[in-house]
């Protein structure tokens, strides 16, 4: 199981990346409104995109 000595530090790097991405997403406002996107999906059924 010596592979753990590589895997666990690698996971640290991945986790750091995930935290960085999450923080960026929150700060750009993607988590401000979690209700309307669900409703918007239902309504989004016409062809034109604007």
């Amino acid at each position: 199981m010596t592979v753990l000595f590589v895997m666990i530090p690698a996971t640290f790097v991945l986790a750091a990346l995930a935290v960085w991405a999450f923080t960026g997403a929150v700060r750009s406002g993607q988590f401000d409104d979690l209700d309307t996107p669900g409703v918007r999906i239902i309504a989004e059924d016409d062809q034109s995109h604007d």
Partner: protein, 874 residues
């Protein structure tokens, strides 16, 4: 063609004869008088129930947005009802003052602004509003936040003006309002703090989850054996992650504990922070030396669960506060300023300067403190005094901001604006009183103090017991005690219970800003409730209380009164139609059919009016006289004695009698006579609610700005204690009375007007009732959106049940803590045992919180219908 929607009624709309024809826009039945038929009797084209719906439909179709109606149908929703606001020009939105308050620059020399759309409620609304760019060229994006009813608009100021955008939104059925007075920095601060909270929760969750994975490996190693190198790897990895967890998301607990210690106040964060710091420090030491227990999985899970609990509670309380702010006055706060050249310019209220000449139209309120420039004015100053009778103001006399003009248009000269108006000064005392109140110690804090004291004592005992055997074990067990018995359940009990209760209360129309208000309501000893009179106990406006005599006169009388703008006329026009619309008169016609006839009206100021209707040119005219007894008798009508007696009886009850007489203009016609008694009626459930409050141990009193005679009559009808009834009070008097009574016990104030705001802020618990003024909504702890006094009793019951649940959850979590403490003192604790006990206690608290009976909706019949999706029992 939309399907026929079920016939629905609101409390103010008259019941229309079911014509079987649905409006092509909103689906409501089209009144008989507005159906357009072609020459062969068939329906010609699309039918609409009003001009607003017709305009909306035309606009939507011309932009190719008919998908709106498909979406409405598939969702079972209906287009919003058109309101009179559809006719507003929104000119004040183009002024620099408005732009400074509500707009921000956006990249690409565009402008960003926000509007509150009260009527947006469904998927179809989202779809239509977000297609605003197709309706109004120049709008580059529109995003609707449904739960907050807020639309974010980005537009090009070179191509389109804000007023055009606002008018288009109103035409579609979504009249916009500015989001909050002076949003700007406060709003972005709130948003930034919310985002920081979310980041903390995310990081804490990631840390806790990963540490749990590492610890599963460690626990497996405990049972099956693991070689030292791997154990060291796992321990060091979890130490690093745990350090991140405690020092980044967990820092809020440590910081708040340090502040509380500095202020010598007990706070539940003190034992929490102690556990976190000791856990991290001791675990780090043990990892370095290579032996001893580490508790990282427990403490990082603490951080995660506690952050989530607080976040949920915080959001629930904020949602209540925002709902309250959304109730604020629905008209845009603007003023009509008369410039030197005589031109009238519409500006936001903030743009009026002292010395400006301001025009106030009928039904509008004075935007600033001013003196009267016109000869005579009549103003309703109930917002400041609570008295509903209009005040006559002469040339040169002062008119305070907030007075409603009930006469014709007048001109005023501004004497004090913005912060210097009497209302603003009143609001400042409100804010100061609220700030002085600060944060009272909550139940959870009291128990946290006891827990901490008990823990420290136990820790010393443990040290003493184990020291002779093994000093290392002694320290180990003592620290384990302080870490494992961390009051996670205690810290979750209050947030979880209050979140559930506040959510349910909000759905029942009770918006509660903070849980401590409920705590005060539930645990008050010898509490006193003061009720405001006008608008709280009574409806707050002149209404039809009784109608006697020939009921067929209701229809024509209502129609005649619609033409005038007197408070009595308005009350008659509104209430006669509601009550008697379905009754037929002798010609077999209903009030609705009268509503489309145009009468010939001549008014006699202060006495009444004469009206004559000609149903068809050939038929004889119906002559109507409505007004005082003298006026009616002057036309030669003899009023039956029974009606005169009823009028006199009504006057003794402070009701105003209005006689109605009608006869056909033929020789032998007999006049028909009726009597309408108008007054400010007491709410139906007032007496029952007062009795219920008394039964629950409250003393009930009344504070009123109205005349003592009227107040005394109302007080005796409700059975209030005489020493608790005060009348003729100014706003400042109400506040000082509340302060005086607060020395003897908790005081709960219930009110609605600006004249109650100061008292609401000073009271232990302030409750603003249905349709309250902005000032009292801002000052109160709780806002009710249902009329009547019944919700107050529900609040008391709900808060008592909530506190019972809180006490139960605290007891259960303390029981878990006791088990853990016993294990620690006995030296039997291990990280595995802790990792099992702590989630078990949190889950038990959660389960109990969800099962609380506070504000529970008793049955599945919540009152929700497609026409009334919030289920509010309005």
């Amino acid at each position: 063609m939309p399907a026929l929607a079920p016939t629905t009624t609101t409390s103010t709309a008259p019941r229309l004869k079911h014509t079987g024809v649905a409006c092509a826009h909103c689906g409501l039945p089209v009144p008989a008088g507005l159906i357009e038929r072609s020459t062969d009797g068939e329906l010609s084209g699309e039918q609409f129930c009003c001009h607003g719906c017709k305009t909306a439909r035309e606009l939507i179709s011309s932009c190719g947005l008919d998908g709106y109606y498909r979406l409405l149908n598939s969702g079972g929703d209906r287009a919003p009802e058109m309101s009179p606001a559809a006719g507003l020009a929104y000119a004040e939105m183009d002024t620099p003052a408005y732009a400074a308050l509500y707009c921000r620059p956006a990249p690409g020399s565009l402008v960003y602004t926000e509007f509150l759309l009260d009527t947006a409620h469904c998927a179809a609304c989202v779809w239509l509003v977000e297609k605003l760019g197709r309706v109004v060229p120049g709008v580059t994006s529109a995003r609707l936040d449904l739960s907050r009813s807020l639309v974010h608009v980005v537009f090009d100021p070179q191509r389109v003006s804000l007023s055009t955008i606002a008018r288009s939104l109103a035409t579609l059925g979504y009249p916009p309002r500015p989001p909050r007075s002076g949003s700007g920095t406060g709003e972005s601060e709130r948003r930034a703090e919310d985002r920081r909270q979310l980041v903390r929760i995310g990081v804490a969750g990631a840390c806790a989850g990963n540490i749990m994975l590492l610890f599963i490996a460690l626990y497996a190693g405990m049972f099956q054996g693991m070689d030292a190198a791997h154990v060291a790897l796992l321990r060091w990895s979890s130490t690093i992650i745990s350090a991140v967890c405690i020092l980044w998301p967990g820092w809020v607990f440590i910081r708040s504990a340090l502040t509380a210690i500095r202020l010598r106040a007990m706070h539940i964060d003190i034992p929490i922070a102690l556990g976190l710091v000791l856990g991290l420090g001791w675990g780090l030491y043990n990892t370095i030396v290579g032996t001893g227990e580490i508790y990282f999985d427990s403490i990082s899970a603490f951080v995660f669960f506690l952050l989530v609990g607080r976040f949920v509670q915080h959001r629930r309380q904020r949602a209540a506060a925002e709902s309250i702010e959304a109730l604020f006055s629905r008209t845009a706060s603007n003023a009509r300023v008369v410039r030197a050249d005589g031109r009238v310019e519409v500006v936001p209220v903030e743009g009026v300067s002292v010395g400006d000449e301001v025009e106030v139209l009928s039904e509008q309120s004075a935007p600033v403190d001013a003196v009267l420039l016109s000869e005579l004015g009549r103003f309703d100053q109930s917002v400041l005094t609570g008295e509903s009778r209009a005040v006559h103001v002469a040339l040169g006399e002062s008119v305070p901001a907030g007075s409603v003009n009930v006469g014709g248009p007048v001109r005023l000269r501004a004497t004090a604006t913005g912060e210097n108006t009497r209302i603003a000064r009143l609001m400042r005392t409100v804010a100061e009183a609220a700030a002085r109140r600060g944060r009272t110690a909550q139940l959870a804090d009291i128990w946290a103090a006891r827990l901490l004291a008990g823990l420290l004592v136990l820790a010393l005992i443990t040290l003493a017991v184990w020291w002779p055997t093994s000093p290392h074990n002694a320290v180990q067990n003592a620290i384990a005690l302080l870490v494992v018995v961390c009051p996670c359940g205690l810290g979750l009990a209050m947030p979880l219970c209050t979140t559930v209760a506040l959510g349910r209360a909000a759905r029942r129309g009770m918006l509660i800003k903070g849980a401590d208000a409920l705590e005060h309501l539930a645990s008050a000893r010898r509490p006193v409730v003061f009720l405001d009179k006008t608008g709280t106990i009574t409806a707050g406006r002149l209404s039809l209380v009784r109608f006697a005599g020939d009921r067929s006169l209701a229809g024509p009388a209502a129609r005649a009164e619609e033409t005038t703008n007197h408070p009595i006329a308005r009350a008659l026009a509104r209430d006669l139609v509601c009550e008697h619309a379905s009754r037929m008169d002798s010609a077999g016609e209903t009030a609705a059919e009268w509503s489309v006839r145009v009468p010939n009206v001549r008014t006699e100021p202060s006495r009444g009016l004469f009206a004559s209707f000609k149903p068809t040119p050939a038929a004889p005219a119906l002559e109507l006289v409505i007004g005082t007894r003298a006026l009616v008798e002057s036309k030669g009508v003899s009023i039956p004695a029974s009606l005169i007696d009823q009028a006199l009886a009504g006057e003794r009850e402070a009701l105003t009698p209005v006689f109605i007489a009608a006869c056909l203009a033929t020789e032998s016609a007999q006049p028909r006579v009726a009597l309408a008694l108008l007054g400010d009626p007491i709410a139906d459930d007032a007496r029952a609610s007062v009795d219920a409050l008394k039964a629950r141990g409250f003393r009930v009193g009344m504070l009123s700005g109205d005349r003592p005679g009227v107040a005394a009559a109302v007080a005796s009808r409700l059975g209030l204690d005489d020493d608790l009834v005060h009348a003729g009070l100014l706003p400042e008097d109400k506040a000082s009375l509340v302060e005086a009574w607060k020395t003897r016990g908790p005081v709960i104030m219930v009110g609605d007007g600006v004249n109650d705001a100061s008292a609401l802020a000073h009271a232990t618990v302030g409750i603003a009732v249905h349709a309250g003024a902005e000032a009292s909504l801002a000052a109160a702890d709780i806002a009710l959106t249902r009329p009547g006094l019944g919700p107050i009793v529900e609040l008391v019951d709900g808060s008592r049940r909530l506190m019972n649940t809180v006490r139960l959850t605290i007891a259960v979590s303390l029981a878990y803590n006791a088990v853990a403490a016993a294990l620690c003192v006995a030296g039997q604790i291990s990280p595995l045992a802790a990792a099992i006990i702590m989630p078990a206690s949190s889950l038990s608290v959660l389960a109990l919180a969800l099962r609380t009976r506070a504000f529970r909706i008793a049955s599945l019949r919540t009152g929700r219908t497609p026409a009334n999706p919030t289920g509010s029992l309005a």
